[in-house]
Structures are given as C-alpha cells and as structure tokens.
Assembly symmetry: C2
Homo-oligomer: 450 residues x 2
C-alpha cells in the first residue's frame, strides 16, 4: 500500500526540474501562489479548504531511504542529486486565507515562500490537496444555502474518487455546514460526527421486512432509522406504525424513516400522513438518492415534509463541476516578480494580498487584489501560517472553522447565496500597484526575451 | 495520516448492520454483485478495472486494536460485538471479469460470496475502489480510440480527487492503453512508466528563456523536452532551433518541444515548420492543455502535426461523467435469490454469469445475462478469482492486462469504438432463466411482504 503523502506522489518533471536547479545552484527564494483562475459556471464563490492537510504535507516532506533507492534504480537521476535530496525538508513560509473563507477568481488562497527547489517540488501535491477540499466545500456550501434549516449528511464515500476523496469530502462538507458524514474514518481522523441508517441488503437478507425492522431496532436501539422503500414505501411506513408501539414498550423509539427512491416529495407527504395518523408525529423523515443543491432547492420549494438529507455522489464528486481551473504559479524568484504570458493563462505577478471591503452592515462589498504591502485598506485575508518550516500557531479546529463558515455564508450578499449565477458577479478589483507591477514584469520579459 | 485500506473507511451503517447480523447470528452465505445500472450519456461501453486493488483490500481486511479501541470509545457499539470483530477476516469467494474487459449496463463485474457480515462490510470500499478505476479506464479507452497512433500520457494527478485518485488514475489509464503517466508514485507502485517535461516556472525562474532551455537540457540530457509557450510559442521554437546545434555538439538531442496553450493545431503547424526549417525534423511535438477525447478527435481530424498528448484533469476526474451509476447489491442469502424493488432501482437477482457471443470475425455480437450454470454458450466472462479468502492464482500483471485491452478494443464493433452514442446500443439480452428467477423472487417477496 502506498503512503498518501509520499514525496513521490508528484509529477516526474518536479524531480527533473529539481535536478536542474540543483545543478545550477538555484536555491534563491521563490514565491508561488495557489489560485483559481475562473469560477465554474453557476458558482458565485468558492470556499477555501484543505489548509490543515497542506500544512501537514509540508511539515512531513522528506525522501525516505526506500524512495531514494527506488529513484536511483529508476535511472532518471544522478547520485549527487540523490544525496542532496536526503536532507531536503520544507523550511519555508506559508501565508494563506483561513479555511472556510469565501473567495473569488484570481485570488490566491495560499502562498509558499521558500528556496526554489522546495517550493517547486510541492506543487503537484499541494494543488491536489487544496483543489479537492475547496471543490467539495464549495459544493457543500451551496447545499447548505439551499436547505439551511435541514440536517445534511455526507453519504458519498462509496462513489468518491478513491479513499482520500471519500475521507476529505467528509471533512470539507462538515466544514461547510453539513451535520456529519456516513464515513466512519472521518470521525476517527477529524471528529466529523458519523451518522447512518440501514441498507436495502439488511431488509432483503431477512425474509420479511417487519423482521428486519425489529432486528435493526434491537441491534441499534439508540439510533433507529428504518429504510422503508425496499419493496413499497407506503407499505413500509404502515409496518413501522404497526411495529413502533411494541418497540416503545421495550423503551425503543423509532427516530426516523428513510426514503431513497421515487418521487421524494410525494412519498414524503404520504409517509408523513401515515406516521402522523399512527401517532408517530415525532418520527422524522430522512431522504437520500441522487440529491444535490438543485434537488434540495426544489424539495424545499415544494415544502416536502423531509427533515434531513443524505447527499452522496454529486457532492463528493462535485458532479456539475468536477474540477476547478486552479494553478500554483511562480510569482517571484530571487527578488524579482515573475509571470507567464501563455495565451489565456497569464497570471498576476508578485506576492499578493486580498483586501475585503465591507458595507455598513458588514456585508462584503468588493475585494481588492494587490501587491503585498500596498494600501492596506479593508480586511487583509492572507495571513502568515508557517515561518521557517514551522507552524506559527495551532490551526483552528474544525468546529471553529465550521462556525466561521456559518457566519461567512450568512454575511454573503444575497445574490451570491443563490444557486443561479449572480449578475453582476462579486467585484474583485485589481489595484493600480498590481497592474503597474505586471507592466514592469512584462517590459522586463520583453527586454530579455523579446 | 490515515491508512487508505482502513476497515473504518466505510459507512457507519455497515458497522451497525453488522452488529444486527451478529445479534441475530445471521452468518449464512450471502452473494453480492457489483454492477453499473446504466452507462453515462455518450458512453458505448465501460472497461472493468480495479480488481487487483479490490483483492488486496479483501486480503488485508481486519480491525486493528487501535480501531477497535476507537470504536469502543465512539459509543456506537457493544463490547461483545467488538470482541467478535477481532477475528473477522475475509474468508469468502470472489468471481470477477478480468481487468480490462469491456462491459455493459446491468452486467456484474465482481461477485462476492461470503458469510453475510463479511460480504456486507466490504460494500462501501469495494465500490469506491472499482468505481474509480473503471471510471478512468473507460475514459482513457476513449482517448486511445480517438488518437490510436499517438503517445498519450496521464498528466492529471494534481487535479485528481486526492492522492488515491491520482495514483489509481495513472494505473487505470495505462491499463487502457496510455503510454505512461507523469505521476512518479505510479511507477514505483505499479511500474507505470513515468514521463515528464518541464514547467513554466522553470522558464520563469530563469531570466532568459534560452538559459532555461540550456540548463534543463544539461540537467536531463537523456530526455530533453522543452516547454516553449511561456512567453511566445513561435519565438520559443526559434530559440530551440538556435540552441539545438550547440547542444548536439555536446551530444545532447532535443527530443521534443511541448505546447500547452492557445490554438494547438495552428501553433503545432507553425512550430513544425520552424523546427523542420531549422533541421530539427526528428524533434517531436508534444501537447497538453484541457485535452480530452473530443479535443483529441478534432486535432486528429485537423491532422495537427502533434506526436503525443498529455491528458490531465478531464481524464483523471472523468469530467464529462464524473461518476457511474454503480451498486453492490445483495443477490442471494441463505440459498435464496434476493432483490430490491425500489422504484427505478430494481436489480436482477441471483448469482449471474455474462456470456459473450462473437460473430465469425471474432467481433462481439451480443451478451447474454443469465443465472450461473444456465445454458453455457458463448464465452463466460465471470471467472473464479478467490476461494476461501485466498487468491486462486496470481492476477495478471499490468502489461498483460494492457495487451489484452488493446486486443479487446480492436475487436469491438466499429460503432462502439466511436465517441458518439452507438445506435443501436450493444445488445445485452436477459436469459429466460434469469427472468424466471426474478419472477419467483418477486412472488416470494409479495407472499411474505404483500
């Protein structure tokens, strides 16, 4: 089995470029920033996430003897370079937006300032870490905004793209305001409350549905949530009504029923009526099955009597926007700002800061993207996190981040909180100082490479 | 850091259901099958992948003392159940389609036959493993079919959904016919040839582009691929032409140039002309940037002089179809076939076999989905893999699978090899024996649960 934070989980060119830097002694300070160049269609903001895992990766960065041995046998590398790699650790600085901060196109959310080889080497995995959690947290925030009064649970691990996607999706969606996740490992690793019901197979393995319900209730008396759509949803609800009084005599309460198929709003209304008629007014209805923010919004609009939702595949894969147009770009080397000019892909050079300006009610009005140190007005969102390879102070815990996200989402301008594209989009203004730096860089590039 | 194959990487309900089965002593043999219910829009077939990792997971299945301790503290479970879990291992049988086999909707690609608790517990992670690689291998096969004469390399790790997605995407795309991957760890873990060029940051970190080219060539003389679009693509090509003779004098050959932005076909034509005029006829052109099977097909149609492609984000995230409608369903328990009847989600019950029928030229004509043991005509695709928890024989290595895929893809009916939806779709016929079994199951369900 592989180690998820293996230094070899990188692109080959990082290692070959490192060999180049090593040969030339290019170890001056480099500044790289991670940003999203463009928001996916329909998205009005993104939520920064994954900083904790990024820091963990940087803190653990090293080549193991086994990895170095393998690299030697691979034939791609010289032995003096491999010897030099033995001592490579991350000794640089990190600045970043706090996890859970809403951000917009072109705004860096993480900056690495380190000797060039270190800052270069970590590119692929840093993108990989920040991209995934930002992607899922941003999708989850939309679900939370679509159904703010409902209990939302991440059900997506099985169709997430691999182990880490399932695990980190649970963290990212919890951070964004979900109540928990079905993924047990996320509770062990991150304290994300795990939550679960029962599967169709449990019902099918029993000869009779009522027997399955009773068996499950006795096996997990503190959390009886019965899945009632295996054969016929309304008939399943009637069986719950018949069973509940007998369970109640034994001190067991049917907490909820789950619907997983068919027209959820219609089924929920009929099931609600059956439960209420049977005296189970306190038994809630939980629903799942191909849900996303748009289906949540429709169910909310229809006033479906559903109390909670399990959101799975479309959340964990961010199905409508399965990737972000993100990059980790060199902004400065050896004291000089840098940028590439490739068609359609040019970036703003230099060490940057994002200043967020609020209106009288504390609602974000616009951001200003500028060079660090320029015109410090508004709230500066990029803060120091690591210095000299060490964390400056402990990162906030997940509960703290989650509370901050709730505040941040509540404070967003109303058009940004909707599911449709806000028009106009939130304003990110480029400061004159940044435009001037870009011109200077371009003139220098033209002079040297003209 | 987490362990990717931790038994806690599962849904909570698997563990609570297990507690239910344990309480009731339900340890009879269960049969579960993994299948895709429907192909994504535009896909004419899928490629089975991930069996090796699924087997590895089953072979290693156990609860560690730390995990059991954590479960005890979580408060979800009883102590006699936890004691019972200490000895839980996978002791069942596995049948499966060979990795790299094209398959279609409703066809199982993996069957687990084991005591119910074991077969149930592994559901979430087995789906997670098989889904990801099948998803990416199927997408990669389309790229290979779109550009069969070109060298395709997986460049997607950075925007894959986490560590495992990046690693397994490299394996899955290589299996499907890619030449290799940029992901170094995939070479260490699976022998997928790693491949790489240089990044824009390498060029930008040097003051002058020519210097960057020369430095890279000297650092990696055996694999000189120069990225020429950082500032101006055609100017970059001219610099390569100017530099190449000097490098050649030192015994260094410029193997290729890479384009990563703009109109690739137009740039490639101009760059090809510049290189040819400069005597670099043997220097190939490699291209990357937002590629997928459709862009490959267009570039092929335009006859763009590009020799190889790096396919990244859209491959690793299977961007046009980021998930499959797949499931792992109970088909039999205690000798009786089972199925759920949930609306729109009912499945074919029982242990099943897929028989593939070929025409005179060896081209697949149709499949028959039936119950195991029925009318064994055609080629039976589901074969025994594990018995009693042990692998029956070593699984084929990746090179063998890759060769088989090449043959399988070449033999597919022409309409299936196209990128557009084949009409009619490949025929999967349901055998009378399977229809009869489904009716019997339904009558039994109705009798018991009516």
């Amino acid at each position: 089995m592989y180690a998820p934070n293996s230094v070899l989980l990188t692109d080959l060119y990082q290692l070959t470029m490192l060999q180049g830097y090593f040969r030339q002694g290019m170890e001056d300070t480099a500044v790289f920033e991670f940003m999203v160049r463009e928001l996916p269609p329909g998205r009005n903001f993104l939520l920064a996430a994954g900083l904790e895992q990024a820091v963990e990766y940087l803190q653990g960065l090293h080549f193991t003897p086994t990895e170095l041995e393998w690299m030697e046998h691979s034939g791609h590398f010289d032995s003096d370079f491999l010897t030099w790699l033995e001592d490579l650790r991350f000794t640089g600085d990190v600045h970043a937006m706090a996890e859970g901060t809403p951000f917009f196109a072109d705004e860096p959310i993480l900056r690495v300032t380190a000797p060039l080889p270190q800052a270069q080497l970590v590119e692929s995995r840093l993108i990989n870490i920040l991209h995934l959690q930002t992607l899922v947290a941003s999708k989850a925030a939309r679900c939370v905004l679509a159904a703010p009064d409902k209990r939302l649970v991440d059900f997506g691990m099985r169709r997430a793209h691999g182990a880490e996607a399932g695990l980190y999706a649970a963290r990212a969606s919890y951070l964004a305001g979900f109540a928990g996740s079905a993924t047990v490992l996320a509770e062990q690793c991150f304290g994300v409350p795990s939550s679960g019901t029962m599967a169709h197979s449990f019902v099918e393995a029993h000869d009779v549905e009522e027997e399955a319900f009773a068996a499950f209730a006795h096996a997990c008396p503190q959390n009886v949530v019965l899945l009632i759509d295996t054969y016929d949803t309304e008939a399943g609800a009637e069986k719950v009504v018949a069973l509940a009084p007998r369970l109640q005599e034994q001190g067991i309460t049917v907490k909820a029923v789950r619907l997983d198929s068919g027209e959820l709003a219609a089924h929920a209304r009929r099931v609600r009526a059956i439960l209420d008629r049977g005296g189970l007014e306190a038994t809630t209805i939980f629903s799942s099955g191909s849900l996303d923010e748009h289906r949540l919004a429709r169910l909310q609009a229809e006033d479906a009597p559903i109390d909670g939702f399990g959101i799975g595949t479309r959340l964990d894969t961010s199905a409508d926007a399965p990737y972000l147009d993100c990059a980790y770009k060199l902004q400065e080397y050896a004291g000089e700002a840098r940028r590439k000019r490739s068609e359609g892909k040019s970036t703003w050079p230099g060490r940057k800061q994002v200043h967020r300006h609020y209106d009288d009610r504390g609602i974000p009005d616009h951001d200003i993207l500028t060079v660090e140190g320029d015109a410090p007005s508004g709230k500066a969102l990029i803060r120091p996190i690591m210095a000299g390879g060490r964390l400056l102070e402990p990162l906030p815990d997940l509960e703290t981040i989650r509370r901050r996200v709730a505040d941040e989402l509540a404070a967003l301008p109303a058009p940004l909180r909707g599911l449709e594209t806000a028009s106009p989009a939130y304003a990110v203004r480029i400061a004159p100082a940044l435009r001037q730096l870009a011109s200077e860089v371009d003139r220098r590039i033209a002079r040297r490479n003209g």
